[in-house]
């Protein structure tokens, strides 16, 4: 499987497990970085294999249930998929300890990854210390976008 189609699948997979659309995920500007971070730690072959599992269930009528069974309940894919969710939501790679290599340590993967975390838009707030929302805006209620 080529890197290009793996990336497309990664986006589709990410949309399915985060609840955000591919447009919104691309809108963070972090998609390529998260994809390359994942590959760097667990290896392209493992990523390909996991995305293959996803591809086989992608068009299933009960996708959420299929994801639970085949990805999240799976000893091999579960921790990786959860890490992908965390990457998108808080911009942080959490140490897995399953792939002993020098890049598997807890870190915010880029300064922008922190500010672009889905966490902030999910709670309708700006990331602490970044994306200042304007003087006096703290008097307004959070603006949680309609889902």
């Amino acid at each position: 499987m080529s890197g290009h189609s793996d990336f497309k699948l990664f986006l589709e997979f990410s949309a399915a497990i985060t609840g955000y659309s591919q447009f919104q995920l691309q809108g963070t500007g972090q998609a390529e970085l998260y994809f390359s971070t994942l590959i760097e730690v667990v290896g392209a072959g493992v990523v390909s294999e996991m995305l293959g599992v996803y591809r086989d269930i992608a068009s299933h009528e009960y996708l959420d249930e299929m994801l639970k069974q085949h990805i999240f309940a799976d000893a091999r894919w579960g921790p990786i998929a959860r890490n992908v969710i965390k990457l998108w939501y808080v911009g942080t790679w959490y140490q897995l300890d399953k792939f002993p290599n020098a890049v598997d340590f807890k870190r915010i993967v880029s300064p922008i990854a922190y500010t672009e975390g889905l966490l902030w838009r999910t709670i309708g707030a700006n990331p602490s210390g970044a994306k200042a929302p304007g003087y006096g805006s703290w008097a307004n209620p959070p603006t949680i976008p309609p889902t």
């Binding site: 447009f23 963070t28 300064p111 994306k131 603006t143």
Partner: protein
């Protein structure tokens, strides 16, 4: 003999209405170029574009003050207020058009032309401007005398010089009655921050001159000097720094140096490749029907127009609404950034761009 091009209060209001369009017309191109920069790269370019865009917003507010001071009514909602890019600037410059496009050498060249210092050319009458519909519409709306020539200025500085002359001429004939606007409609300094200059209320000839001077100084510099008399670098020279990839140093800019003097300071990082390749002057029809991208572009345009509606109210007697508009600006930024980070389906290597005006 009266050398002023502005002879009546109606002429002055017409010029100021054009100035309002002019100041606004520069903002979407500057903002879009800034949004096109890949985060974490070109940080100094982003800072320069941000400062210039914020100061253009200040100029927009200053023009609203000038117009309100003479009893006019700023209107940001007329159908021609937002240009159809690519567009000529509303002061009648005819040598170049302004586009909504990614940061590039070409965009930088346009920005330098926008902020070009006055060359003190003799003004030509506006044959070139004749086919631009907003002149006709605006003139009809304001009942401008048909003998008043259409705007055709060589630079923004020349345009504001004409406005300054107009204020002077009308003050000589009308006296303080020229400033008959309600002072409560003035936007005051507490509504502006995060940029150079000051939001000056306009209530008399002195404050009108100060507001005009500030607009010209921030754009093209003060009488050909690279640094303004408040020590701020004019927009033209900020862009020159990007062009040369070097900073101007105050101690190297002696009096008498003009715009031919290249910067001599430390290097400034410019990376034209770290930019999202957005489609220049993208239109809604470029985005596939039914796509999320198209919905997001419509949402941006509607939010932008809603935002203009809010500041229009602020400019027309409710200045406190400007505070509410600030969080809207940040939300617009988020929406625009999401657009430029997405590719246009079916156009393999082109990214989307914000659209500021929806098609009729």
């Amino acid at each position: 003999m009266n050398l002023s091009r502005i002879c009546t209060l109606v002429d002055l209001k017409y010029y100021l209405a054009c100035a309002l369009q002019l100041e606004h017309a520069t903002i979407p191109p500057y903002l879009t170029a800034m949004y096109s920069l890949i985060p974490g790269t070109n940080t100094e370019v982003a800072r320069i574009l941000r400062v210039v865009a914020v100061e253009e917003m200040l100029h927009l507010a200053l023009v609203a003050n000038l117009l309100n001071a003479v009893g006019g009514e700023p209107n940001l909602l007329s159908k021609d207020f937002i240009p159809d890019y690519p567009a000529y600037l509303p002061d009648g410059e005819s040598e170049f058009q302004v586009s909504i496009e990614a940061f590039s050498p070409r965009a930088l060249d346009t920005f330098l032309r926008i902020e070009q210092p006055s060359r003190k050319h003799s003004l030509v009458e506006g044959e070139a401007a004749k086919d631009r519909p907003y002149y006709t519409n605006l003139r009809a709306l304001l009942k401008v005398d048909p003998n008043v020539p259409r705007l055709a200025f060589d630079t923004i500085g020349d345009f504001y010089e004409a406005i300054r002359e107009g204020f002077k001429y009308l003050y000589l004939t009308m006296g303080p009655a020229l400033f008959k606007g309600d002072p409560a409609r003035q936007l005051t300094p507490e509504y502006y921050y995060s940029g150079g200059g000051k939001l000056l209320p306009v209530v008399d000839l002195r404050s009108a001159f100060d507001a005009i001077q500030l607009i010209s100084d921030q754009g093209e510099g003060y009488e050909g000097h690279i640094f303004g008399h408040e020590g701020e670098l004019a927009h033209y020279y900020r862009f020159k720094q990007i062009q040369y990839g070097k900073y101007y140093m105050k101690e190297h800019c002696q009096q008498g140096h003009n715009d031919d003097h290249p910067p001599t300071g430390p290097e400034l990082d410019v990376d034209f490749n770290s930019v999202y390749p957005i489609k220049p002057n993208a239109k809604l029809r470029d985005y596939p029907e039914g796509s999320e991208l198209r919905a997001a572009a419509v949402d941006f345009a509607m939010s932008y127009n809603e935002f203009l509606g809010l500041i229009n109210k602020a400019f027309n007697g409710q200045p406190a609404l400007l505070m509410e508009s600030v969080p809207q600006m940040f939300r617009l930024k988020e929406k625009a950034q999401a657009l430029v980070r997405n590719k246009i389906p079916g156009m393999e290597n082109l990214h989307a761009a914000p659209i500021f005006k929806l098609p009729k």
